[in-house]
Symmetry: C2
Subunit: 202 residues, 2 copies
């Protein structure tokens, strides 16, 4: 084993192992030993980088948020001129992700916050922050599209952003429950249909 003794690399390996395990088993069921074994690090190494399991949860949420931000900031649809097209590009992009394995497209933040919201306040806060940031990013395109296609509509772009995320989170739950994306994909179709009614061409 070529141990490279790279602090950042080890830390990242721990976080990514946590991300994958928590997405599959949940936060509580994922043990520190699990994470260490999966990352090829010992317990001593783990607690050198994180002072508690909770703090790793927070770090994982932040890491996930950063990854998502980067992913959706560099996706092909971002190059589109029309903000409405970018919004539907986002929807279609996320819909296409349901083609991968469940543990690859589900949201770490939504999974963690369900378990942690009342017992692990730091984790809850980190998840909420990540989700809020993502909605804010999304809401910028929604707002721009609103100015163009529905300037006098009564809804706020922020609430539409949250609605989109709610559908996604619910779709993830059904993908897990049904062990497949079929039902989730139909929900994404309904979501798209709704958004089309919001941004009717002038």
């Amino acid at each position: 084993m070529a141990r490279t003794r790279n602090s950042l690399e080890t830390r990242t390996k721990l976080i990514e192992a946590a991300r994958d395990l928590i997405r599959a088993k949940g936060y509580s069921a994922t043990t520190v030993d699990d994470i260490c074994h999966s990352a090829g690090v010992t317990k001593g190494g783990f607690f050198h980088h994180f002072e508690s399991k909770d703090q790793l949860g927070v770090a994982a949420a932040e890491h996930f948020s950063a990854m998502a931000e980067q992913l959706f900031a560099t996706a092909p649809y971002c190059a589109l001129q029309d903000p409405r097209d970018r919004l539907f590009g986002y929807i279609d992009f996320r819909t296409a992700m349901f083609g991968y394995e469940i543990a690859q497209y589900t949201c770490l933040l939504g999974t963690m916050v369900q378990e942690a919201y009342s017992t692990h306040p730091n984790v809850r806060e980190a998840c909420a922050a990540g989700m809020t940031t993502h909605v804010e990013d999304l809401a910028r395109d929604i707002e721009a599209a609103k100015q163009l296609y529905a300037p006098s509509a009564s809804w706020t772009s922020e609430s539409v952003g949250y609605f989109i995320q709610a559908v996604l989170q619910g779709a993830f739950i059904f993908a897990k429950a049904k062990q497949g994306p079929e039902v989730a994909l139909e929900s994404m179709m309904h979501l798209r249909r709704y958004l089309e009614t919001l941004f009717y061409p002038i």
Copy 2:
């Protein structure tokens, strides 16, 4: 302590304690000791009624499903003649529930299946079954409303039922993350608006 030595009552107390604890802390973080303490039963009593924690999880899912079925089968809106009115009665009824405490209106099935989908197949199956049954019940009104108000629409009533549930599940996640129902309520409003577009009066 008035020990009543009533088998069914003890079993129900265990299930309801599990329901409340799991909704607040998740399945894995809820221990058998927790449940026993909360229900006022010892561990011996617990394992007299359930042969494993998993089986309790299954029983809790079934209990929750039965309770929900009863709740939504006897709610005031069920008396309405028009299936479209019943559907919106359901939406408004569920929207109103966001006024209670988080742990009272969130869905045990959605919470459990997030954690259990890959590691506790029996629990996953019980959750999926309960959710499917609920959607089927709901889809009956949707189908009847479709016949009246949108007979030639291309969507299936089942998919609309799942969409409604997806929004609800997502709304629960945001209510937990945000520690309040505001964002969730806005999502319910968007959901209602969408359903209105589906069932436009003839």
